[in-house]
């Protein structure tokens, strides 16, 4: 069974500490607004910031360029660090939108990357709350593929929240991402997005 929990809520007996709980007098207490699944014995947060992990794909904006590193604005609690790749032909400039993968994490929440690719200029960038990104991707990226296919776009999703869209039907792709964001916690979303895209497809092609 799934239940919504709030910060300060005591979790059922026997739940060990997780990332979203802390222990108090032998009890696990929730730190966040989340859904507790008593089969999987875990809390999935419903809101909140991105917790960077090694291997996470990111999309960000180059905020400053130094001799050895660049600062990357990820709309995260701190800038990411991109170590300049001397083998690459790409030289980041301030303002570039880049995609990359987190290589390591320093000081608890500073993502470090060592390779980046610029996002093409004809793209559109939207920001989605990081807690809603898993819904934009869908199970095994099924939602993402569906949007890409029906709108003839290519979508690069950063787990930090930035999403870059290029291709033909950018407008309907953005509209579907906005819809996913606002209805993220409701079931049957994949079908509703499909319906919506099929109905506006004619208009935007």
């Amino acid at each position: 069974m799934k239940t919504v929990v709030l910060p300060g809520d005591a979790m059922p007996e026997g739940l060990a500490g997780t990332h979203y709980t802390y222990m108090s007098a032998g009890h696990a207490i929730s730190k966040v607004v989340g859904v507790y699944d008593d089969e999987r014995k875990e809390i999935m947060p419903l809101e909140g910031a991105w917790h960077p992990r090694v291997g996470n794909s990111i999309v960000g904006v180059v905020a400053s360029v130094d001799r050895n590193t660049c600062s990357i604005d990820l709309r995260h609690s701190s800038y990411g660090v991109l170590i300049n790749d001397r083998m690459s032909r790409y030289r980041p400039r301030v303002g570039d939108v880049i995609e990359s993968v987190v290589k390591s994490i320093e000081r608890k929440n500073v993502p470090v990357m060592d390779r980046a690719r610029p996002i093409e200029e004809s793209s559109w960038l939207v920001y989605v709350k990081p807690s809603k990104i898993p819904r934009v991707l869908g199970r095994n990226n099924s939602m993402l593929r569906q949007i890409e296919e029906l709108t003839q776009t290519r979508i690069i999703v950063g787990l930090n929240g930035f999403v870059a869209i290029s291709g033909k039907g950018i407008n309907p792709a953005v509209a579907s991402i906005r819809k996913i964001e606002s209805e993220a916690h409701t079931p049957g979303l994949t079908d509703r997005i499909r319906e919506m895209l099929l109905s506006i497809k004619e208009y935007d092609k």
């Binding site: 904006v61 180059v62 604005d73 301030v94 303002g95 570039d96 939108v97 996002i119 200029e121 004809s122 793209s123 559109w124 960038l125 950018i170 407008n171 309907p172 953005v174 509209a175 208009y203 935007d204």
Partner: protein, 258 residues
């Protein structure tokens, strides 16, 4: 954030070439307008207005003061605007920014030049007049504050009541007299990208625009204008935009008058 601007700017311009916008609107289509009047009871007048995702609230306080020396038989009207830091990650705390001051002054000018408030009716006795303070608070920002703040300020004035003043005392419980409104203005703000012009920019479009022009009308004549940003307009373009502004008046003011 200039990178986001370049990337977004490139796409906004490329779709405008195909007569399209990023939110699939027509070039001269306003977003949905929603007005709620009398949302506060302490203020003498109030209204909350939404234009798409931009959300503002206007409150009117009426006080008794001395008149300005150049208009001894008329009341006073002051419009202020506050870009609350809660409304956008880009708004900062502190004294009013030049953008907030420009916003307040442009809204003020449209309403003042439109002769909307019966200023003579605010006269009480020699040395005593009503002053009408209109404060517009931006709660959530998604572009085009000029137009939505004018809608909110006008709507709040439409339901403003004057507290009773007699024998040197103001009685805020007695609000039987309504503020007299002689005219209703609407504001229409256009943005220019290259040679393409659009109405009612959202926040993304606003960040990428070359030039901006606000035209306030009462449906018959132009009442105030303000050109902004460092781009330019041709004389012909301004003339065309005035025609569009005049034609949009009814569509906007029906929400204010309702």
């Amino acid at each position: 954030m200039s990178g986001i601007n370049t990337l977004k700017g490139a796409y906004i311009r490329s779709v405008l070439k195909d007569e399209k916008r990023i939110d699939s609107r027509e070039k001269f289509q306003m977003r949905e307008i929603e007005v709620k009047k009398e949302v506060l009871s302490n203020a003498e007048g109030s209204a909350r207005a939404r234009l798409g995702n931009t959300d503002v609230i206007a409150g009117v306080k009426v006080v008794v003061e001395a008149p300005h020396s150049d208009t001894p038989k008329e009341g006073n009207m002051v419009v202020s605007a506050e870009l609350l830091p809660m409304a956008s990650a880009g708004f900062e705390t502190g004294p009013p920014s030049p953008a907030a001051i420009e916003l307040a002054r442009v809204v003020d000018r449209g309403i003042r030049a439109g002769g909307c408030v019966d200023m003579g009716g605010l006269f009480i006795e020699d040395g005593k007049v009503y002053s009408v303070y209109i404060d517009v608070y931006v709660l959530d920002y998604d572009g085009n504050l000029f137009d939505v703040c004018t809608i909110a300020a006008m709507s709040a004035l439409m339901n403003t009541k004057l507290p009773k003043y007699s024998d040197g005392e103001i009685d805020r419980k007695d609000r039987s007299r309504s503020l007299k409104i002689d005219n209703v203005v609407s504001s229409t703000t256009f943005g220019k990208f290259g040679e393409d012009i659009i109405l009612d920019m959202n926040a993304d479009e606003e960040q990428a625009a070359d030039a901006r022009i606000t035209i306030a009308t009462d449906g018959k004549v132009v009442r105030a204008m303000q050109k902004g940003l460092n781009g330019d307009f041709t004389i012909k373009q301004v003339e065309q935009l005035i025609d569009i502004a005049l034609s949009k008046n009814e569509e906007i003011t029906k929400h204010i008058k309702r």
